[in-house]
């Protein structure tokens, strides 16, 4: 008996050790990207990470540009009414579902797209996916749903109006994209019929990307999305009306009122979309100019001149938004120097020009490239951020494109940056946010 016991003990201990090693060694996150296009044209991109605590679904629809105010008004209201009732479920049902999935449901609209992201715990993924698919297929636009959407838009506008920077930034972005904000009467004219017409012609399967990131089983989610979306077969009726030409942006600086003592100057340029040739160089250019405290704007405007506290660049790059250079200062400076706002704009413009007149050296470029690559990781820390980036990437280029960006940033050359500056920063629009007592 004894020898048998010994023989058995050793394998048992080894087995235990092996199992223990396997179970206590941190397994690498399952990071395989799964991409699929359904027969109806909807694109799916899933990137699971079992170390996340949440799961995020992003539904993105490339609605196309709204170049006339009536379309823009309808697009705005439809985007905000998507979850206020579907032809299959009442508003109350939908509300209960939103709460059940954790209540994190955000909608973001650009000039030509709508992006909705729902974040929830891993156990509720099916409910979150169903919620988005149901809205996409069966959203209804009753008078009550439109009224709720209008109230939401009003609250968002009020929140933006409190921030002079945000007011100026949004006005500038709209101007650079040639958009005209619909006036209140145009918004009021959106009715259930016009909302439904907009929804039926713009929310089409071929324009939709569904992305998921975080803690989930990709096989289960892929299969569920296929089932939920198989009957989404809306087609554009006939020929769409030809889009109008975008408004030619005016060169006159926009003026936005600011409460309190803060004042801001902003300059916006054009920008490429993700996937375009100069996109990595554009991101490095943006970082060189205004990303971090080693950037040109921070060092030359704030540190050398002692002007402004918030100084830098901002952009919504994946969406193809403009590069916005900005500086904020104490408007009481204007009491000593009434031309301070014009000088602030000249300071920003001067730094945009200087990329061509004083091209960056290798050390400066090295900082910008490495910071752009590092910030890429930081900006994708959360499942919601990764799901949105994945959706943008799949819409604009390929789902895998986003992952290749850090490597592309590190390979950007000085000539690439100069080319990006020449291509995108020559046409500029400016905005100034000043307290009303100074805005004359």
């Amino acid at each position: 008996m004894k020898p048998i016991s010994v023989r058995l003990k050793i394998p048992a201990a080894l087995l235990t050790l092996l199992l223990a090693t396997l179970l206590t060694t941190r397994l690498p996150a399952e990071d395989r990207l799964r991409v699929e296009t359904l027969p109806n044209g909807v694109r799916l991109a899933l990137e699971p990470n079992q170390l996340d605590s949440f799961v995020a679904f992003t539904m993105q629809v490339q609605t196309g540009p709204d170049l006339v105010p009536a379309d823009r008004a309808a697009g705005e209201i439809v985007a905000h009414a998507l979850f206020y009732g579907s032809s299959n479920r009442s508003f109350e049902d939908v509300s209960a579902s939103v709460s059940q999935v954790g209540g994190s449901l955000t909608t973001r609209r650009t000039a030509d797209s709508v992006t909705v992201t729902c974040v929830t715990g891993p156990r509720h993924w099916r409910e979150a996916a169903y919620l988005l698919c149901e809205a996409l297929k069966n959203a209804d636009f009753t008078p009550e749903a439109l009224a709720r959407a209008r109230a939401d838009i009003g609250r968002l506008d009020a929140r933006r109006a409190v921030s002079p920077f945000l007011s100026a930034y949004n006005a500038l972005v709209e101007r650079t994209q040639g958009l005209i904000e619909p006036d209140p009467s145009t918004m009021d004219r959106v009715n259930p019929e016009s909302a439904r017409a907009y929804f039926q012609t713009r929310y089409l399967p071929s324009r939709v990307v569904f992305a998921a990131a975080g803690h989930f089983d990709s096989l289960a989610v892929m299969s569920a999305l296929e089932n939920m979306l198989f009957d989404f077969d809306r087609r554009a009726p006939g020929r769409a009306s030809p889009p109008s030409a975008p408004q030619e942006p005016s060169d006159a600086p926009l003026r936005v009122p600011a409460a309190g003592d803060a004042a801001y100057a902003l300059i916006g340029t054009q920008g490429p979309r993700a996937g375009e040739e100069l996109y990595p160089a554009f991101v490095v250019l943006r970082t060189l100019l205004g990303g971090g405290h080693g950037s040109r704007l921070f060092r030359r405007v704030r540190e050398s001149e002692g002007f402004g506290y918030t100084v830098g660049t901002a952009s919504d790059p994946l969406a193809g938004g403009p590069l916005v250079a900005y500086v904020g200062w104490n408007s009481r400076r204007s009491e000593q120097d009434p031309a301070v706002a014009d000088k602030a704009l000249r300071r920003l413009g001067g730094q945009l020009d200087a990329v061509l007149s004083e091209p960056p050296g290798e050390e400066e470029l090295d900082r910008a490239r490495k910071l752009a690559a590092g910030q890429w990781t930081i900006e994708r820390e959360l499942p919601a951020e990764r799901a949105e980036a994945l959706a943008w990437s799949a819409s604009m280029a390929t789902a895998a494109y986003d992952r290749s960006l850090p490597g592309l940033f590190l390979r950007v050359s000085r000539d690439d940056v100069i080319r990006a500056a020449r291509t995108y920063t020559s046409r500029r629009i400016s905005a100034v946010a000043l307290p009303p007592r100074l805005s004359h």
Partner: protein, 422 residues
Amino acid sequence: MLKSLHLSAVVLVLLIARSVHADDALSRQVLPKGLQIVFRETHATPLVSLELWILAGARDEGPGELGCAHFLEHMLFKGTHLRPAGQVDTDIERLGAILNAATGPDYARYYTVAPARNLSPALEILADVVRNAILPASKVERERAVILDEIAQHRATQSSRLVDQLYALTLAPLPYSHPPAGTAATIAACTRDGMKRFYDRCYVPERALLVIVGDIEPARALSESTAIFGNWQRGGQASDQATAVAIPLPRASQSHLADPGPRRAVGMAFIGPPASSPAAAVAQVTQALLGTRNGGRFAATECAAHYSPRRDTSLFILTNEGAAGDGPLRQALQRLQTSAPTESEMAAVVGREAADARLETQRAGGLALRLGTGIISGAPPDQEARLRAVTPAQVSAFARGWLDLRHAVTLWLEPSFPGETP
């Protein structure tokens, strides 16, 4: 054999348990010279958050030092014995990270989020900024202008102006009555000598807390931190010179101030419990229950409840930036005082707070901020359990005891535009 398998199974279970809970464990160490270090492992993304907190906030400013805490925080980026001005930023940004700082009522905080592989060089830069600052006199005036611009931005919202003025009215002459960022007057009066005194007194390891959260093993984090901060010499003074000053409950008062905002706004301030008090959890639940325009009883209104627990006296503030004045605030208080919230409302409020906390702490930086805020303000650990233990009766009793209208300091901001600002 059975015995052997049994023992192996126990070992296996213990190892599994260790692996499952590794991410939730909080490790704490105090280095011999007094620096506290807190580590937390998270592995969802290859990032690490580093936060160095110093007990060097507005609370610690002595006579002649008002505004110094914030001014000094800016001056620490103006060069060290090892790096000229600007080099700190260039060096850390080459690691893919941005170094930032903030000053609060109780602290100055220096923080960054970096790729985890860069832990060691990022810690070295953080240590250099905090320990080796030269505070060059030639940079003081230019930075003064920058800080005045910053204060103007902070004062851009009516809510900020209202809360600042309520602290000033209610807590004078305590240091907490001054905004942590300073005012135009205190920043104008700051000198390089005052900042140097403040630096030498407060920037010492026994007043510092290093928080490390992210994709890093605690053993590695500890060895790197010890190598970089282990020789930081003690300051040799009492570890926390500022002492809590008990102030009498204010009498009910009404004040009016001209304000550049376009609308009238009103705020009511009450003395609230410090972070270390058991009543702080009740105050937090009460604040969440009243809420803001985004949720709670004040949802879809212009009213809001504010409570940020501090080391010493903290204010509980109610504001209304809408047209209805203080009526809705008084009604909300009266309702709380006369009837306790229902169990279901309480469960919803606490559930919402817990969900918000979980979302906020998904980021390594969010978790590090939460850990640092709790420790530096003296809050007891296990925040979520404390919030869940609060009962409806405690909320009602808190409203009757702490939020007594006989001790409310009420301030009206009156629009001054068109015309001159005050």
